[in-house]
C-alpha cells in the first residue's frame, strides 16, 4: 500500500462516526475507571489500616488475601467475575463485573501503598497524639492518615494510571470501552488499523498524562 493511500485512509478514519463511536468507548473507560478508583481507594485504605493495626488473626487473614490477589493476573480476575460467578448464582452485568474485578484487584494494590504510607509517618506522631489524650482511632484518622496520604500521592496516582490502562483488558469480556471499540472499527476496514491505534494511543496518553499532572498539582498543594 502506498503512502498516499495510507494518508487518505488516515484522514477517512477520523470521520465523525468513528470519532463518536470511540468517544462513547472513552466514556465507558472513564466511568469504569473512576468508579473503580473511588471504590478501591476506600477498600484499599480500610485493608491497609487493618493490616497495619495487627489485629489478632483478622489482620493476618487480610494480609494473606492481599498477597494472593496481588499475585494473580488481572485478566483471570476479570474472567472469574464475569464467567465464573454466574455458576455460583452471582450474575453481574459486563459493566459491573468489570468494576468488581478492577476494585478487587486494585484494593489489594492500594492497601499495600496505604500501609507503606502509614509506616512512613514518624512514630513520634503516634506517640505525641496518644500522650495528648487522643484515642487510637482519633490518632489514626486525624493525625496519621492525612500525613500518610500526602506521602503516597505519587505511587497512588501511578497505580490509578495503571488501572485506566488495564481497563482495556475488559475487552476480553466485551466491555464496550475504548480498546474494544477500536477493534470493531478496524475490524470492518483494515486500512483503519494504524490510524485507530494512533488515536487510541493519543486518547490513553492524554487521559493518563492528565492524571499525572493532577498528581503533581496535588503534591504541590499539600506540600
Amino acid at each position: 500500500m502506498s503512502i498516499a493511500m495510507t494518508l487518505a485512509s488516515t484522514i477517512e478514519a477520523f470521520n465523525y462516526y468513528n470519532l463518536r463511536y470511540l468517544f462513547i468507548g472513552l466514556l465507558y473507560t472513564l466511568s469504569v475507571s473512576v468508579i473503580s478508583i473511588a471504590l478501591s481507594f476506600v477498600f484499599g485504605s480500610i485493608f491497609g489500616i487493618i493490616v497495619y493495626e495487627k489485629i489478632p488473626y483478622f489482620s493476618r487473614w487480610v494480609s494473606i488475601a492481599v498477597d494472593i490477589v496481588r499475585n494473580l493476573p488481572l485478566l483471570l480476575i476479570i474472567f472469574f467475575m464475569y464467567f465464573a460467578l454466574p455458576n455460583i448464582g452471582v450474575h453481574l452485568s459486563i459493566f459491573w463485573a468489570s468494576i468488581a474485578a478492577f476494585t478487587f484487584f486494585e484494593s489489594a494494590m492500594v492497601s499495600e501503598i496505604v500501609r507503606g504510607g502509614i509506616m512512613a509517618v514518624d512514630k513520634g506522631q503516634f506517640e505525641g497524639a496518644r500522650a495528648n489524650g487522643l484515642t487510637n482511632a482519633q490518632t489514626m484518622f486525624r493525625i496519621v492518615l492525612p500525613q500518610a496520604y500526602k506521602k503516597i500521592v505519587p505511587p497512588l496516582v501511578s497505580q490509578f494510571i495503571s488501572l485506566v490502562k488495564d481497563t482495556s483488558l475488559a475487552t476480553g469480556i466485551v466491555l464496550p470501552e475504548l480498546m474494544y471499540r477500536g477493534q470493531i472499527i478496524y475490524g470492518q476496514n483494515s486500512n483503519y488499523m494504524i490510524p485507530v491505534f494512533i488515536m487510541l494511543a493519543i486518547i490513553y496518553f492524554v487521559v493518563n498524562f492528565g492524571l499525572s499532572l493532577i498528581s503533581k498539582r496535588i503534591e504541590k498543594n499539600l506540600a
Partner: protein
C-alpha cells in the same frame, strides 16, 4: 500536700533479654517537681514513658492518678487526659497549624467549647511567647519554638502532671534558655506535678524539689535537691555529676 500522684512499687521492665527497669520503687507527690538524671541507657526515658503507658511494665505495680496501669480494666486514655508529656523531638502534629496543635485534643477529647478553647490556646501561646506564630505550621518553627508549642499543647489539657523526656536535648544551645524559662514558670505553679528527665543541672538545682539518680535500670539515689548536689551518696552519682559539671 501528701496526695500521691505517681507510685512505682517493685516495677520491672524488660526489652527481650535486656533488663531496662530493675525493682523501681518511687513515689511522686502531687505538686512536686522531680528531676530524673543519669547516664544514657540508664532507663530514665523508659521509666518516664511507663507512666502514661507508652511502655508497658512486666511486673510490679504502677499507680498514676489513682489508676493501676497494669490492670486491664484501666482505660489508659483517662490517665493520658490528666498526664501530659513533652518529648525530646517535640512530636507536634505536622499536618496542623500551631494553634490547631494546641486546640485539637481539648476539642475532641475534652469537648471544650470552641470559643473557650480558642481563648485558652491563645493565652497559652502568649505565655510561651509565641502568640504571633499561631497560624504557622510546625515546619516553619525553630526547635525551641516547637518545644514551647508542645508544652502549650500539653498545658491546654490542664493536666495534673507533666512528664518531660529530655525536652532540651535536641535543641541548639541558644534555644534552651527559652524552653527552660517556660518550664520554670510551670514548676512555680504549686498544683502541677512535674517529672523531668534532663541533663540541665542548673535547671535541676533551681526548680527541683527532689533529684532521682538512675544507672543501669536502677534508682541509685532519691534525695532532696540540695542534699544531692552538696554530696551525692553513691559513687556513680558523684562521678556523673563531676563529669557533667566539668564538661
Amino acid at each position: 500536700m501528701t496526695e500521691k500522684m505517681i507510685q512505682f512499687q517493685n516495677v520491672e521492665k524488660y526489652y527481650g533479654d535486656f533488663h531496662a527497669l530493675k525493682d523501681i520503687n518511687i513515689d511522686i507527690n502531687a505538686g512536686e517537681t522531680v528531676v530524673l538524671i543519669g547516664p544514657s541507657g540508664s532507663g530514665k526515658s523508659t521509666l518516664i514513658r511507663t507512666i502514661n503507658g507508652l511502655e508497658d511494665i512486666n511486673s510490679g505495680k504502677l499507680i498514676v492518678d489513682g489508676y493501676d496501669l497494669a490492670s486491664p480494666q484501666t482505660d489508659i486514655n483517662k490517665i493520658r487526659k490528666n498526664v501530659g508529656m513533652v518529648f525530646q523531638h517535640f512530636n507536634l502534629y505536622e499536618n496542623k497549624s500551631t494553634l490547631e496543635n494546641i486546640m485539637l485534643a481539648p476539642r475532641i477529647v475534652l469537648k471544650r467549647d470552641e470559643k473557650e478553647n480558642h481563648d485558652i490556646a491563645m493565652s497559652l501561646l502568649e505565655k510561651v511567647g509565641l502568640a504571633d506564630k499561631s497560624a504557622n505550621m510546625p515546619s516553619e518553627l525553630s526547635g525551641g519554638q516547637k518545644q514551647r508549642v508542645a508544652i502549650a499543647r500539653s498545658l491546654a489539657m490542664q493536666p495534673k502532671a507533666l512528664l518531660f523526656d529530655e525536652p532540651t536535648s535536641a535543641l541548639d544551645p541558644e534555644m534552651i534558655g527559652d524552653v527552660l524559662d517556660v518550664m520554670r514558670d510551670i514548676a512555680k505553679d504549686s498544683n502541677m506535678t512535674m517529672l523531668v528527665v534532663t541533663h540541665e543541672m542548673n535547671f535541676a538545682k533551681a526548680v527541683a524539689d527532689r533529684v532521682v539518680f538512675m544507672a543501669d535500670g536502677q534508682i541509685l539515689e532519691d534525695s532532696k535537691t540540695e542534699d544531692f548536689f552538696k554530696k551525692p551518696k553513691s559513687e556513680r552519682a558523684q562521678q556523673f555529676i563531676s563529669q557533667i559539671e566539668h564538661h
